[in-house]
């Protein structure tokens, strides 16, 4: 890591994830990452990763206990009177009103007196950014820009992007893609890297707190990790190394650095050692994933075309 590193990313291992451990780890991680907040902040938006109806134990969605700890941090350290909202949008195959219910966020909202926002249904505003010399116009829920503080709470995972045509890390930068109000985000899949970077030029979280309690690579894995940083690019730089990728080979991260989403000058990792988590993370073979997926579909379609056999609904 560079000596001139201008951002810190903290790594904290949760010792007792079933008890108070998550809260302690979240507080410690935030304290370590040099997060400076505006004590006058009144409106706080939290953006978790609720991409589908999967339980957080699958490594796919943000654990509500992590979000609960973030809410506690805001109330205890910033102001007990903050108006806190969780903002997430509908996706191509998921309706957020049901994900909030199924993943326990409705109960959380009642318990912590916060608001759940369906970003696809509330007031929308359009923003524009330039990526790779091309203009990109996207629609966002207004509440994102009416807040004093945005906290991004992504999951640490590797997932297929763009209908399974490619494999990417999903952490700080990709999670903000979920801020796009349009439910059918599948339309952006053909140029997803540019869209992720465009979103990150428009939406600027003040803090990123990563849920790595259960991370997902080749399979889910209890990493019991909480990461925090004030710069999404730097968080993804460290996250990609934990997941076994060279950060400069992660296309959207490389593009974000090239496009100047942040003044990137290396990262200082504080807290636990990165290597400990890298050893535990179940790495995915990118090449194998991409080719096995493509090969399976090509063979299936060819077979169905020749024989006239039926393709099951799940893979149609």
């Amino acid at each position: 890591m560079s000596d001139k590193a201008n951002y810190r990313v903290s790594l904290v291992k949760t010792r007792n994830p079933d008890g108070e451990g998550i809260k302690d780890a979240v507080f410690e991680a935030i304290d370590l990452c040099d997060f400076k907040w505006d004590s006058k902040a009144k409106k706080v938006v939290i953006k978790p990763n609720l991409c589908y109806y999967w339980d957080s134990s699958t490594g796919e969605t943000t654990d509500k206990r992590v979000v609960a700890a973030v809410i506690d941090f805001v109330r205890e350290r910033i102001s007990p009177d903050c108006e806190i909202s969780i903002v997430e949008t509908d996706a191509s195959a998921m309706k957020i009103k049901y994900a909030y219910r199924m993943l326990g966020y409705e109960d959380l909202a009642e318990e912590k007196h916060i608001t759940l926002v369906n970003g696809s249904k509330e007031d929308i505003m359009e923003k524009e950014a330039c990526v790779n010399g091309k203009s990109c116009r996207l629609r966002f829920p207004t509440s994102l820009f009416n807040s004093d503080l945005i906290i991004n709470v992504p999951k640490l995972k590797v997932g297929p992007f763009a209908s399974g045509k490619a494999l990417h890390i999903t952490c700080a930068l990709k999670n903000l893609y979920g801020c796009i109000a349009v439910p059918k985000k599948v339309v952006y899949h053909s140029n997803i890297d540019e869209v992720i970077v465009a979103v990150n030029k428009m939406v600027k979280p003040h803090l990123t707190l990563v849920d790595g309690i259960v991370a997902k690579g080749k399979h889910p894995c209890k990493l019991n990790l909480i990461m925090a940083g004030t710069n999404g690019v730097c968080v993804d730089y460290v996250a990609s190394q934990i997941m076994g990728y060279n950060p400069f080979n992660v296309s959207h991260l490389r593009l974000a650095i090239k496009e100047g989403v942040t003044n990137f000058n290396g990262v200082k990792v504080v807290g636990e050692k990165l290597e400990e988590f890298r050893k535990e993370f179940p790495k995915v073979n990118n090449f194998m994933f991409k080719w096995s997926w493509k090969l399976q579909f090509s063979l299936l379609n060819l077979y169905a075309k020749i024989t006239g056999d039926t393709i099951p609904p799940a893979v149609e």
Binding site: Y52, Y53, W54, D55, T58, E60, D90, A91, S92, A93, M94, K95, Y98, R101, M102, L103, G104, E106, D107, S163, G164, P183, V186, Y303, I306, T307, G308, D309, T310, I311, P312, P313, A314, V315, E316
Partner: protein
């Protein structure tokens, strides 16, 4: 030359499209008309060569020249569509569950009997190759008397994602319309239990609500056959991120002479199995033979087999397997499960 059986499909959701596609391979039947409230779905059906399409299934029943219909409408529309179909004298294949209550099942049974039409409920698990092998061994007495059986089916229910992302239909979140939670899948296990051991009574039941839905997402129940001594543990859930081609289903029979499991007859390597079965079909095609649809998936093939069975039964004018009476027994068992689970939950609270 024998006349082809003319079929109509009511409802073109996932199951409707699957049956429509499979029907192209039936030796004695063809789908000639379809009905769905969505114009887009009808447009898709026309691409399959279906000329008669209707936005209202009643129009299909009135105008189309079909001999039998396949009903794949949402659960809450089963009863009314079966009544309407039976009154026109058409035979019926309906997706499970037959209806939302045992009373509705009974009404349907009386209706189809009075109209003199055949009805089959889509319990495709009876047509799994691995299930049929276990049933055969059980019937032959290979495991002796079965004292304990375990029947398991854990999947993601309506929340299964597909390659083409489409939101889960709203009615799946509405208990009134769905009629039940994961027991919507559990009906298969209850059906298999009664197929093997006769009608059951419920000894114990416990329901889980991990996902805060208005219905259960996991069930553990203990059944006892009314005619045998066999007790069966039913484990069913809609909580698992089970993605195709993985499939968490099994039956284990523990008998006085050993045990057998469907796992013994499931391909260990699904990809290798797919290649093998696809190769066989390619050869069949090259030699001008008839295709064995979906055998490469091993479990989707059962959907073809059940429709083939239905069409054959109609052609021979005999009762198909899994009729309204069986479905009524299943619905009774489900109602018992809910009752007993409630009593036990109350008991635990005390």
């Amino acid at each position: 030359m024998r006349r082809l059986l003319r079929l109509g499909v009511l409802g073109l959701g996932k199951m409707g499209v699957l049956h429509l596609r499979n029907s192209r391979h039936l030796p004695n039947a063809r789908v000639i008309s379809v009905a769905d409230a969505s114009k887009r779905a009808l447009k898709r059906a026309r691409k399959f060569g279906i000329k008669e399409t209707y936005l209202d299934y009643r129009d299909l029943l009135e105008r189309s020249d079909v001999d039998a219909v396949i009903i794949t409408l949402p659960n809450f529309l089963h009863k009314e569509s079966i009544f309407a179909t039976a009154e026109t004298g058409r035979h019926i294949f309906v997706e499970k569950p037959l209806a939302l209550s045992s009373k509705d099942c009974r009404d349907i049974r009386l209706k189809v009997e009075s109209c003199g039409v055949h009805l089959m409920v889509g319990h495709n698990y009876r047509f799994f190759e691995c299930v049929q092998k276990v049933k055969k061994l059980y019937d032959e007495g290979v495991v002796g008397d079965v004292e304990i059986a375990t029947l398991e089916l854990v999947l993601n229910g309506p929340f299964a994602p597909s390659v083409r992302p489409v939101p889960v239909s709203e009615w799946y979140f509405d208990k009134e319309k769905l009629g039940m939670g994961c027991l919507d899948s559990g009906v298969h296990l209850i059906d298999l239990f009664q197929w093997f051991f006769g009608a059951p009574s419920v000894l114990f039941a416990s329901l889980g609500y991990r996902f805060n839905l208005p219905y259960e997402d996991s069930v553990v129940a203990v059944l006892q056959s009314k005619t045998h001594k066999t007790r069966g543990v039913i484990n069913v859930g809609w909580f698992s991120k089970m993605i195709f081609p993985r499939f968490d289903f099994r039956i284990i029979l523990h008998g006085t002479n050993g045990f057998i499991s469907t796992d013994h007859f499931v391909p260990q390597n699904l990809y290798l199995h797919a290649m093998k079965e696809a190769s066989k079909n390619l050869v069949r095609r090259l030699l001008g033979g008839r295709l064995h649809p979906l055998t490469y998936t091993y479990y989707y093939a059962s959907y073809y087999e059940e429709i083939r069975h239905f069409c054959k039964a109609i052609e021979e004018d005999r009762k198909p397997e899994v009729g309204a009476k069986d479905a009524e027994t299943i619905a009774n068992t489900i109602e018992q499960i809910y009752r007993i689970a409630q009593v036990q939950a109350n008991h635990l609270k005390e």
